[in-house]
Symmetry: D2
Subunit: 367 residues, 4 copies
C-alpha cells in the first residue's frame, strides 16, 4: 500500500517521479458522456506550469498531457481515463549530490527510513512535480462539477507577512499577477518581499484560500467521510501544507456560541439562507448549500540556496548548499493544486451521495 | 456509503444514535495476541464521560462497554472485536420539540436535505455521543501502540481567550482539573470565563493539542495517505472541529525557509536528531522518529440556551430557545476523542507499513 | 485486516463467534427511507435456523435479531444499521476436547497457523454460525431490491447422487420439504440417502442453485468488479463451497460457439430478448436484463461421527471421533445464505451503478 | 466506480481499450527492493502474445512493455510502478460495422445499456486485449512471490471434448505445443478438433488448471476475504470464464465426508501433511501449506465467422457474420492470464497477513 489512490467513486491513482519517464494519473469512475478533450486538462496544467515568472523555478516544463484511454468520440466512456505527461529537461546531474545527504525540510531522510533507499533525483516521488498528475485529474473532476454549475475560486491569500486586503479584493487580478493574489497592491508588496527572500537565499510561506459555489446541500457522509474531513485529507496530502481550516477556522476557538452560530432564515423567495457563514458551508460534515470556504497554510519552500546544517547518509554532521532550481514560494503554483484536490473530493462525495435515498434509486431504475 | 468506517488495516466501523438502543464499534484487523479486557477500554470511556463537573452536561451516562467478540482467554484473536455501550437516561421528550425546526450550528438541516428526514432525538447520528464508539475503539489502538512504547499526551491548550502558558506547563494538572489544562492558573482563569458563558446562556470554543512520542520513522504513505493527511481527516471527522495544524501550522505561512527548516544532526550516540521540530515529526507525509505534534480548533458548542433566530421545517422564520443538557465547551471531553482518533490513524498506518520492504517480507515468511 | 467487511456501497461488517456473546452485522450504506422492522429480518433468519428436521443439527438456536440503530419511525435513516443476535444454548464443554487436535476438513489447523492460537469453541469465527450475520444483513438487501421488483428463487439442486428432475420441478416444494428441493420425489430420495449417511456416521455434499429475476440491464462494473466476479467471491466466501458456476458453467468448456452464443432478438413488443441463456444473465460482467442463474457446490459436512486420523496440536498422529451436533448435509440451510450473499452483491453493484452516466447525475442534482 | 482496481495491499489499476492509444497498469504497493526490469515482465507478456500459431488470432501485437516509474537503479522503490504497452496494428475499420449491432456472446449490448454508448472498436474496454495490463502486473507479483519460493504451474486441461490424461502428464509439453497442454497426444487431438472448428467457422471452450506450490500456511482472511473467495473473484473477472472450482470442486457435491476429509498426519520429519488434498490447499479460507489447485472453465470464443441472428442497435432483427481476427479457442492464451490473477491475489493476501499477530509487529518494529 503506497497510498497513491484517492477517492472511492471518482477514484484517481497517480504515478511518476520528478526525473523518471513521466508523470500520470488514471481516473476511474468518471461518469460516461462527459465531453472531454486534452485542452480541458491542459488549461489546468498550464496554471501549474513553472517558469512563468522569476518567482517560480526556471525549469522549463511543457507538461503536455496525453489522454491514453477512456474517451471516445469526444466523450468519456465510463472506463478508466489514463493521463500521461512526459518528463523533459531533466538535469539529474544537479541532483546526484543530494543522494549523499538529507536535505532539511525534505522527505529524503524519511524515504530512506521507510524504503531502505530512495530515488534521489529531484526528490523522486516526493517532488512537487508529483502534483501534475493530481491537477490533470482534477481538471476532469472540475469539468464534471461544472455541468452542475459548481465552480471554484482559488487564490493566494498571503505570502509571508503580506496578506490581501478584503477592501481591495479584485478577482480579476488572480490571472493578472504571477502571485495569483486578488489584490494588486498586495501582490506588488509580496513581490518585493520575495525579491528580498531570493537575495537572502531564502524562501517564504503563504496561505491559499478556496471558495466553492453551487454545491448542493446534502453532500458529505456523516461520521468519518464528512465533507470537511475529506477536504482536510485532500489538502493535507499536498506536500508543504501545515494547516487547514474551514469557515471560521482557528478563529472559532476564540469565539462564543452566540457569535459563531449561523442563523437560518427564509428569504423572500422562500429559499433557506444563513445570516453568516462561520460554518464555511458545511454542517455536521454535510454541505448546507451555501459557499464552501477553506484555507491552507503552506510552509516556506524547503529548498533554499543558503547554507544549512544536516547529516550525510553515513550520519556525519555536515553543512550543505543545495543547488538546483527552486521556487522562493510555492503558493502561486499550489493554487491550482488546491483547487484540483477540492474538485476531486467533491466529485467523489457527490457520486457517493447518489444512492442515499430509496427514492433516488427508484427514480433511476424504475423507468 | 454512509461513511461509518475508518482505516484500511486497523479498521473500525461505528454505529448508533444518541437516543437509540446503544452505541458501538466493530474493530476489524487488530492483530492477534494483544491482552485486552473491558477495563482497558472503560478507562478511556471514563475520560470522555459527561457529568464530571459543572462544565459538562449533567446527563448521566454510565457508558459501560461490553466486548462481544474477538477476545478469547484474555487475548485478541485477530477476528472482529465488537464493542457495545447501552444508551441509558434518554429523555427523548426534551428533544421532540427540535423535530420541528433547524438548530443553528447543528446538522439538523443538512441531515434533512441529505436523507429526506432525520432521527431528531438528541441529534441522532450527528450527536457527540457518537464519539463513544470511536473512543472505545481508540483505546484498543492505543493499547496496541503501547506495546511498541508509543504514547500520547493530549490536553486542552486554550478555551476562548485563555491559553496555557508554556512557562507554567504542568502535565500532572491534566487529570487534576476538569478542563484538562496542563496549567493550574490557566485552568482557573478558564473556569471563570466559562462561568460567565453559562450565565450569559452562551458557550466557548477551544483548542486541543496532542503530542505523540515513540512513533518509529517510516510511518505514513507518500502522496495521498500521508500520516499528516490521514491525521487531518481523522481529527476533522470529529464534529465541531474547524481547524487542524501540525508542527508550526499556520505559523509556517509567515516564516522563512531558513527559520522553518529543521536541521538534522547526529548526537553523541550517533542517533539522528533535529535541532527544531517545525515539521511536527512528519516529513513528506512520513514520520521522522521525532515527536508528532498537532492541534485542533473546536468551535463553541452550538447548543446554547440563548434565544436564536432560525427556520422551522416548513420554512417559517422563528425564534427558538433550545432546552436540554448542554456543555458550555466541548474541548475537555474532546481530549480523549482526539487522542483516540490519532491512535487509530497511527495503528492503521503502522500496519500498512509492514509490507513496505521485500526484506520485511522475507523476515516474516522465510523462517 | 481480518476481512469481515463485504461491499463498497452497501457495506456489511460482521462479527461474532459460535460460542461468544453473540453474532451480528453492521449494515452501512443502506439508502434512507426503506421500511424495515425486525420481522423482515427474522423471516430470513428462520429459514436458516437449525433444528427444523432430523437432517439439521438438533442444537436449538432462537436466533432472535435486534435492530440496535439506523431505523427510526419504521424506516431506515441512511446511517448504520446494527443487528445483533444473542448466542444461547452454548455447550462449550462439548468443544473443549477439540482444542487439543486439528479436525480434518476444518479450519482448526489454519487458524492456529495464522494467529498462533484460536477460539476453539465450536469453530469460533470459522463456524457456520457466522453466516447468521450475513443472512440478517442479506434480508435488508433483499428488501431493498424488492422495491425494484428484483426477486430471488434459491433451492437445493442436488444432494450427493440425488438431483432434482427438471420435469418434476415444483417451486412450491421448496418450503414443503426440509431439504428445500423443488421436486418432491427427489426430496424423498435424498432423505433416504441422508438417512444412510447418518447411520454410517457420514455426511453428504450438494449443490444450491439461485435464479434472480428483475435485475435491470447495466449492473456490474467492467474488468475487476464484474457482476459474476463479485458473485463468485460472495458465494465462495461461504464456508464449504468448492465450486461456483454461472449460466452454462463448466458445461461451456465442452461447447462450441455456435451452440453457446445466445442470439438476441426483438419480441413483438420491441423488447430485447435472448433465444437461450447460456450467459446466465451476464455479458462482459454486466447484467443483460435476463434471469441470472448460478450454482454453488458444497462439500460434505466435515464434522462426522466416524473415526478419523489426524494430528494433535503437539503434532502426534492420533485417531479421533468428533462429538457434538452435526448436520449430515449443509445445503438446505445454506440456501438462504447463498440468497443473502447474492442479494448483498447485487445491492452493492446496483448502488455502484448510480453514478455511471452524466445524465444520471443531472437527473438527481439538477432539480 | 468502474472497477478497474484489484487488490488492497498489492493493488493494481488497469486502463486501456483494444483500439485506443495503448493498454497499461499501475501497480501500487509493491514492496521496495525487488529487482525488476522490463524483461521480467516481457517474458510474461510473450506467453500471452497472439499470432504464435494458427490457433490464435493472426493480429500482430508486439506488446512491448515500458516501465514508466517506480523502479530506480534496477529495484522497485515502493512507489507506483506504471506499465504501458502501445497499441499497434489497429485495423479499426474492421470493427466499424459492429457499431451498428450487438454481437451475441459479447458485451456490446450491456455496455450500451450501462453507459448509453460504447467504444465499439474491437470491443473497447471489454476486449481480451485488456488482460495485457493484468499480465504485466501479474509478472511483478509472481516475481515477488518467487523470492519466497512460491511458484505456479498453469496449463490447459481440456479443449472441447479433449482432456489431458493424467497418465500421460508431461509438464515439459506446456511450452512445446501451442495449446499449452501437458500431454502431447491430447494436444495433437485437440489441434485436430480445433481445425474442424475453424473449418466450420466455429469455436471451442476449454478448461485451465493452476497449481501453486510454496504458499506458506496462514494466507487468506476469514469470512469475506478468504483466499479461495478472492481467487474466485480474480479468475471470474477474466472475460469468458463461466465456472471456477478449487480442489475437489463440483465433484465434492457428490462425495461423502469420510471420503472428502483430508486426514492430517505428521511425517517422519515432524512436518504436518495431509493424506489427500480435496481441499485444494485451503481450509476455512486460509492456506494450509499444501499445494493450491484450482480450475476455470472458459466458454467458446464468442467471435465466430458463422452467421448468427441478433438485433441492430435500433432493435431490428438481423443476421450477421462477424469479420475480424478471431481465436478459435481462448484457453491457450488465457493460461498466463489465470496465472497472473492468481499471483496478484496471493501477493495481496500475503501482504494483508503481515500484521496478523502482535508478535509480527514487535519483530519488525522493535529492533
Amino acid at each position: 500500500m503506497s497510498g497513491s489512490t484517492f477517492g472511492t467513486h471518482f477514484k484517481i491513482t497517480t504515478w511518476g517521479e520528478s526525473h523518471g519517464a513521466g508523470i500520470g494519473a488514471v481516473v476511474d469512475g468518471c461518469p460516461a458522456g462527459l465531453p472531454l478533450c486534452e485542452e480541458d486538462i491542459q488549461a489546468y496544467l498550464d496554471r501549474r506550469k513553472p517558469g512563468q515568472s522569476k518567482f517560480s523555478t526556471p525549469r522549463k516544463e511543457d507538461d503536455m498531457v496525453v489522454i491514453q484511454s477512456g474517451v471516445f468520440e469526444g466523450k468519456t466512456t465510463g472506463t478508466p481515463i489514463s493521463l500521461a505527461i512526459c518528463n523533459k529537461n531533466q538535469r539529474s546531474a544537479d541532483y546526484r549530490e543530494i543522494a549523499s545527504y538529507y536535505r532539511p525540510g525534505h522527505a529524503d531522510y524519511t524515504f530512506d527510513q521507510k524504503y531502505g533507499f530512495r530515488d534521489y533525483r529531484g526528490g523522486g516521488r516526493s517532488s512537487a512535480r508529483e502534483t501534475a498528475g493530481r491537477v490533470a485529474a482534477g481538471a476532469i473532476a472540475a469539468k464534471l462539477l461544472g455541468t452542475l454549475d459548481i465552480s471554484f475560486c482559488t487564490y493566494v491569500k498571503s505570502i509571508g507577512p503580506v496578506a490581501i486586503d478584503p477592501a481591495r479584493f479584485d478577482l480579476s487580478q488572480i490571472n493578472e499577477n504571477a502571485l495569483r493574489m486578488p489584490d494588486e497592491a498586495a501582490a506588488k508588496c509580496a513581490q518585493e518581499y520575495l525579491q528580498e527572500c531570493i537575495q537572502a537565499h531564502d524562501s517564504s510561506g503563504g496561505v491559499v484560500e478556496c471558495c466553492i459555489t453551487g454545491v448542493p446541500a446534502g453532500i458529505g457522509e456523516p461520521v468519518f467521510d464528512k465533507l470537511d474531513a475529506n477536504l482536510a485529507k485532500a489538502i493535507f496530502s499536498i506536500g508543504a501544507v501545515k494547516g487547514f481550516e474551514i469557515g471560521s477556522g482557528f478563529q472559532a476557538a476564540h469565539m462564543k456560541g452566540t457569535a459563531h452560530n449561523d442563523s437560518f432564515y427564509s428569504d423572500d423567495k422562500g429559499r433557506v439562507c444563513k445570516k453568516t457563514n462561520h460554518a464555511g458551508g458545511i454542517l455536521g460534515g454535510i454541505s448546507d448549500g451555501s459557499e464552501i470556504i477553506f484555507r491552507a497554510a503552506f510552509k516556506p519552500t524547503p529548498s533554499i540556496y543558503a547554507a544549512q546544517d544536516t547529516i550525510s547518509r553515513q550520519g556525519n554532521n555536515i553543512t550543505v548548499q543545495i543547488k538546483g532550481r527552486h521556487d522562493p514560494v510555492v503558493v502561486p503554483r499550489a493554487v491550482v493544486v488546491v483547487e484540483s484536490m477540492a474538485a476531486l473530493t467533491i466529485a467523489d462525495l457527490l457520486l457517493a451521495n447518489m444512492g442515499t435515498r430509496c427514492s433516488h434509486i427508484s427514480q433511476l431504475y424504475r423507468t
